[in-house]
């Protein structure tokens, strides 16, 4: 068979990454009706419940902001996180145990390329849910600044970083019991303690710095900055912090995946 010219950069064959992304896109299109509930309906329910419900009880946050407006970027980023972590932990786990990855690796594909493709897809999922829930928030009137489009940048950073964390769990879990730790140990604490639902400043003094080093906190911070149209240097530091974490975690995840798949 004649194949197209292959682009290999730093040992990474671009086609492999593209092909895994395409595979995920084709699989998503087959189940788009069900997928709508994950990407749109479920996070929109959460947004409505918190915004309309708790928003009624809480007078205002951070000097005059309506609670619903405060909480919107956090809920969007939390949803992005859930998508990224689910894809790269449970999704990858089942593709490993089902033998699909072993098959793909018999093509001219490497583990590194699979990891990059999965992180790329996790990032795509984070972006998709950010767009759909963001649209709902616009309808509710909780996002008004055109700067809010910049939340997509936060979603991309979250998708890559949290996706890399998810891969570590997929690589290390031999069964679904240990795999479920990804929710109890990572997703749930991040969901509640990353400044999505309340400003980190209201935490007790001991917890406050802890909350700031959590990997999702800078993502929420960036999203809030864009949603309000108020950007500062702290948002740049946050982005660099997330990129740094990703640059450390992803190679570790790839190493662990290799140990599992190439024995």
């Amino acid at each position: 068979m004649t194949t197209q010219d292959t682009i290999i950069v730093a040992g990474v064959r671009w086609r492999s990454v593209q092909a895994l992304w395409l595979r995920h896109a084709v699989a998503l299109r087959r189940i788009w009706k069900v997928a709508t509930t994950w990407y749109l309906i479920e996070p929109a329910i959460g947004l409505a419940a918190v915004g309309f419900g708790i928003g009624r009880l809480v007078e205002e946050v951070e000097g005059g902001m309506r609670y619903a407006v405060f909480v919107t970027p956090g809920i969007i980023i939390a949803s992005a996180m859930i998508h990224a972590i689910f894809e790269c932990s449970w999704g990858v786990f089942y593709r490993i145990t089902g033998g699909f990855y072993e098959t793909v690796l018999t093509a001219p594909v490497t583990v590194t390329e699979l990891a990059l493709g999965d992180v790329a897809w996790a990032t795509t999922r984070a972006v998709l849910t950010t767009v759909s829930v963001g649209a709902v928030a616009v309808v509710f009137g909780w996002i008004t600044s055109p700067w809010a489009v910049g939340m997509l940048l936060a979603a991309i950073l979250v998708g890559m970083e949290i996706g890399a964390i998810g891969l570590i769990f997929a690589a290390l879990s031999s069964n679904t019991h240990t795999l479920s730790l990804v929710f109890t140990v990572v997703a749930t604490p991040l969901y509640f303690f990353s400044g999505s639902f309340f400003p980190i400043a209201v935490l007790p003094d001991i917890l406050e710095p802890l909350a700031w080093v959590l990997p999702l906190t800078p993502g929420v911070h960036i999203a809030q900055g864009f949603a309000r149209g108020q950007l500062a240097l702290t948002h740049l530091w946050s982005a660099l912090y997330m990129m740094g974490l990703t640059a450390v975690i992803l190679p570790i995840a790839i190493r662990l995946l290799k140990r599992r798949l190439v024995t």
Binding site: M1, T3, Q4, T6, R13, R15, S16, Q18, A19, L20, L22, R23, V26, A27, R30, I31, G98, G99, F100, E102, T103, V104, L105, T106, A107, P108, V109, T110, L261, V262, T263
Partner: protein, 301 residues
């Protein structure tokens, strides 16, 4: 087409492949015959560059597996034991995505998928979910995927294990067609019938080693007697039969409810008449070879 020299593979303290040397010629169908744990699957994983060698040298289509893993995989089609189909995609999409992974354009990949589905008799299932296929169809699809890129070598790990007789026959039919197309095939099996029907040459593997190698006929001539008596009997008669065989000085082996007695010095076994025992004679086969060879291997331990 494949050249293996002194291949060794350790998993921690376990030795899965223990110094294997073999050659597979272009267009040949080469069988690895052995029980579970013989090292067949490990050897095939080494060949597909999915697993690094501990020692030795392995060359596929002129490419070194250790140094040119990606290039080797471009020339190989591999069917793993667990099919490895993508259950989130349809039958056709499984092939299309694999083709895209392998470097075809999306259009070429679709065209090729249509051709290969037709060849493997799966055209009318093209848009089905994987979960709706029978075991035999899944296996055929896995073989179709391995064949998609028209590889130089196809590697099949136990292609018919777990299939019903009908499914097995259909897979055999397709493998025979592949063989006729001139592709080099390396397959593992623990079905003697399969090895005899499909393989040009067979390596008998046991405990990580190749104990002997040859065409099925050569192996039978070397290790199996020309004629074997098969004794079927009611369970109660078994002890009596064993005693009679021992008294007459025959070696025998038992498989399920049947006792097999090989000929001695080229003479058909002469057995005293026994009540409730039905005796039939059959030619020696690969099963007899394997027991003779692997039995000897075990004895050397």
């Amino acid at each position: 087409m494949i050249r293996g020299r002194d291949i060794v593979k350790h998993f921690g303290p376990t030795t899965a492949v223990d110094g294997v040397t073999f050659d597979v010629m272009k267009g040949e169908t080469y069988g690895l015959l052995g029980p579970n744990g013989a090292g067949k699957t490990t050897l095939m994983r080494l060949l597909s560059a999915l697993s690094p060698l501990t020692a030795g040298e392995l060359v596929v289509a002129g490419l070194n597996v250790t140094r040119q893993g990606r290039a080797v995989r471009e020339r190989l089609g591999v069917v793993t034991q667990q099919d490895g189909l993508d259950t989130d995609l349809t039958v056709r999409q499984n092939l299309e995505i694999y083709g895209y992974f392998s470097g075809l354009s999306r259009r070429e990949s679709s065209q090729r998928a249509v051709e290969v589905l037709a060849f493997f008799g799966l055209s009318d299932r093209a848009n089905d979910d994987i979960d709706h296929l029978s075991g035999g169809m899944k296996r055929r699809l896995a073989i179709a995927r391995a064949f998609l890129m028209a590889p130089d070598v196809i590697i099949l790990d136990e292609p018919t294990t777990g299939l019903d007789p009908q499914g097995r026959n259909l897979v055999w039919e397709k493998l025979a067609a592949l063989k006729a197309s001139g592709v080099t095939i390396l397959m593992s099996t623990h079905y003697m019938e399969e090895a005899a029907a499909l393989c040009d040459r067979i390596a008998i593997m046991h405990l990580g080693r190749i104990l002997d190698e040859g065409t099925p006929e050569e192996l039978i001539e070397r290790h199996a007697s020309t004629e074997v008596a098969q004794l079927r009997m009611v369970t109660e008669a078994r002890a009596e039969v064993r005693a009679a065989l021992a008294a007459a000085g025959y070696a025998w082996r038992e498989a399920g409810a049947t006792i097999h007695v090989p000929s001695r010095n080229g003479q058909r076994p002469q057995l005293p008449p026994m009540d409730g025992v039905r005796v039939t004679y059959r030619p020696g086969n690969l099963e007899d070879v394997f027991l003779a060879v692997a039995g000897r291997g075990l004895g050397e331990e």
